[in-house]
């Protein structure tokens, strides 16, 4: 579990963003904008000293868990895991190709270190509760982190899970909501406006923080605070921009959401220049 400095974390996030863009453009399909918004959080988890893991022993029972409930953002996960040494950056260039285990959505039966097969939104937090309950039963001291999309929060199952986590006082569970303001068919404000998550989830008895999730310093501080809470489940509402930091380019293309669209080679080139 590397613990990089703030500066090095920012550099790592940039490398991961480059990979996200490269692999999705090479695949010709996928969800780069959903991956880019989540990059600071995923980078901090894997490289900021928060998750204990060993790519050589990915099934160690004491490992911390990361479940990407918004599975369509797997390019950020594959890229971070490649940087972490689970597999190589060449491997993930096969994203979405026939025969490649780097599928369009995470498949835990085909890749080491993938904790859940996701892609049907709404299920990851419940799966995380299963991991957290098992950890308590077995007296193991691991943390389970689950990342959800803000559109995904429309699924009823998520709120069933929020209630259950409070019941079992799962202080070993952290939910991170990638609050990027968009879902597939438009802005969350227009599709299903859940307004502020913090008071709602607090009302369920959780510890909740709302931060700028594209600011590495804020992400690191929030993860530290969450680690210090030991009587209840924790949630971080990570306010981000979908496609950060290349939103201006996506706006110029006429689609700031850019949901489920790979960058064309030309757009990818511009994006790589902008973030590099």
């Amino acid at each position: 579990m590397p613990e990089l400095s703030l500066d090095d974390l920012k550099k790592k996030a940039t490398q991961i963003r480059e990979l996200i863009i490269r692999i999705t453009t090479e695949a010709g399909s996928g969800h780069p904008s959903s991956s880019l918004s989540a990059t600071e959080v995923v980078t901090a988890l894997y490289f900021g000293g928060f998750m204990k893991y060993d790519p050589k022993n990915p099934s160690s029972p004491d490992r911390d868990r990361f479940i990407l409930s918004k599975g369509h953002a797997c390019p950020v996960l594959y890229s971070a895991m490649a940087e972490a040494g689970y597999f190589t950056t060449d491997d993930i260039m096969t994203l979405r190709k026939l025969g490649s285990p780097w599928e369009g959505h995470p498949n835990m039966r085909r890749l080491p270190g993938i904790e859940a097969s996701t892609g049907s939104l709404g299920q990851g937090l419940s799966i995380g509760i299963g991991h957290a309950l098992a950890g308590k039963m077995d007296g193991r001291n691991y943390q389970t982190y689950v990342m959800l999309g803000d559109g995904e929060m429309g699924e009823g199952q998520v709120w069933e899970a929020i209630a259950a986590a409070e019941k079992y006082a799962l202080n070993n569970l952290t939910a991170i909501i990638d609050r990027n303001g968009y879902q597939q068919t438009g802005a969350t404000k227009e599709v299903l406006d859940l307004t502020e998550f913090q008071p709602k989830i607090e009302a369920f008895g959780w510890h909740v923080q709302t931060i700028n999730g594209n600011d590495m310093g804020e992400v690191v501080a929030a993860l530290k605070t969450a680690r210090g809470v030991n009587d209840k489940p924790t949630c971080i509402v990570s306010k981000t921009q979908k496609g950060y930091p290349v939103v201006p380019l996506l706006e110029a293309e006429g689609d700031p959401n850019y949901h489920g669209k790979p960058f064309s080679p030309e757009l990818a080139k511009k994006a790589l220049e902008l973030i590099g």
Binding site: A27, G28, S29, G30, G71, R96, K97, L98, G99, S100, E103, G104, H105, N107, R110, S117, T118, G119, S120, L121, G122, G151, E152, G154, E155, G156, Q183, Q184, T185, V191, L192
Partner: protein
């Protein structure tokens, strides 16, 4: 080589597009029509309807259970709700809501599952509807339709909307061959014989209808004359057409883009067993999940090919 290409069938529109355009057209004359969407209208193609009739289009967000039960309520008030999502998220995620808010109260809800089958490609197994027909057919009173091409889908959409009662219509993501260049002689519950033959029958639906035509052409060269039936309506099933095919041709192969259990194959086998038992064969995805990949590569790898149909026909025919 796409399915149907060997038979000279031109590539036509995706069935989801045919559905979406038909729905929008029908919306002009039927103001009881409403759509309920779960944040995927731009994928399922209910979007053109929603843009044309925004007051009759509801997008409840990524919340399939809620979406289905809302549709049940609308139907109870005399609306004709079309509720569309990816086949897997609709049928699998909201199955109990479909059972209790639609099927059991026998409400006039039009379920539409898009992105059916493995031919959706790169998004992979989590987005593939391959259990949907089994689930839909298990529900008493629900009419289940799997159209083969764009023309067939337009007629199927009209027929489902005209029927009073719950229906499930299955459509696909990619372009498919045109089986009916001059319009489809569609009638709910009535099989269409798209090619006649005497030695064996291939019963298919969806994109395996063009695949079956390719296979029949290949088998003709071997001296095996195949009947090809487009069995677009799985429920209620055309028992007469199946029994006649069994009696007249003596061997039946069923081809579909679905899991082995509970799909068209199971439905046809039940009728064959009850009416005129003959050797049968099955071409489908099997008892397994697929993977990410390009659509054509996936169809080849998982055996949804004309060659696989040819093999199955030879085997069934050989057991006569």
């Amino acid at each position: 080589m796409y399915l149907g290409e060997a038979s000279g069938l031109p590539l036509g529109a995706a069935t989801r597009d045919a559905f979406g355009n038909a729905l929008k057209d029908l919306g002009a004359t039927n103001d009881r029509l409403v759509t309920v969407d779960g944040d995927v209208g731009n994928s399922t193609r209910t979007e053109p309807f929603a843009l044309a009739y925004p007051d009759r289009a509801f997008n409840v967000g990524i919340a399939e259970s809620n979406m289905v039960s809302v549709a049940g309520g609308l139907a109870a008030c005399g609306k004709i709700p079309v509720v569309a999502s990816f086949a897997c998220f609709l049928m699998d995620n909201a199955f109990d809501q479909i059972r209790m808010s639609v099927a059991f109260p026998n409400l006039n809800v039009k379920l539409v599952g898009s992105h059916a089958g493995i031919s959706i490609g790169e998004d992979g197994p989590s987005q593939m509807g391959i259990e949907d027909v089994a689930l839909a057919c298990s529900l008493p009173g629900v009419t289940v339709v799997v159209p083969s091409d764009a023309a067939c889908t337009i007629e199927a959409t009209k027929a489902c909307l005209e029927l009073e009662g719950p229906t499930y219509l299955r459509v696909g993501r990619g372009k498919v061959a045109t089986v009916y260049p001059d319009g489809c002689p569609f009638e709910l519950g009535k099989a269409i014989t798209v090619r006649d033959g005497s030695d064996a029958t291939i019963i298919a639906n969806g994109l395996m209808v063009p695949g079956a035509l390719d296979a029949a052409k290949m088998l003709e060269a071997d001296g095996i004359s195949c009947r090809v039936i487009d069995l677009h309506t799985i429920k209620p099933i055309d028992r007469d057409a199946i029994a006649a095919a069994a009696k007249e041709t003596g061997a039946i192969v069923v081809a579909e883009e679905h899991l082995h259990h509970g799909g068209l194959g199971s439905a046809v086998a039940q009728v064959v067993a009850e009416t005129a038992p003959v050797p049968m064969g099955f071409v489908n995805v099997g008892d397994q999940y697929a993977e990410s990949g390009d659509p054509q590569g996936l169809l080849d790898k998982y055996g949804l090919t004309a060659a696989a149909v040819v093999d199955a026909v030879r085997q069934a025919h050989g057991r006569k």
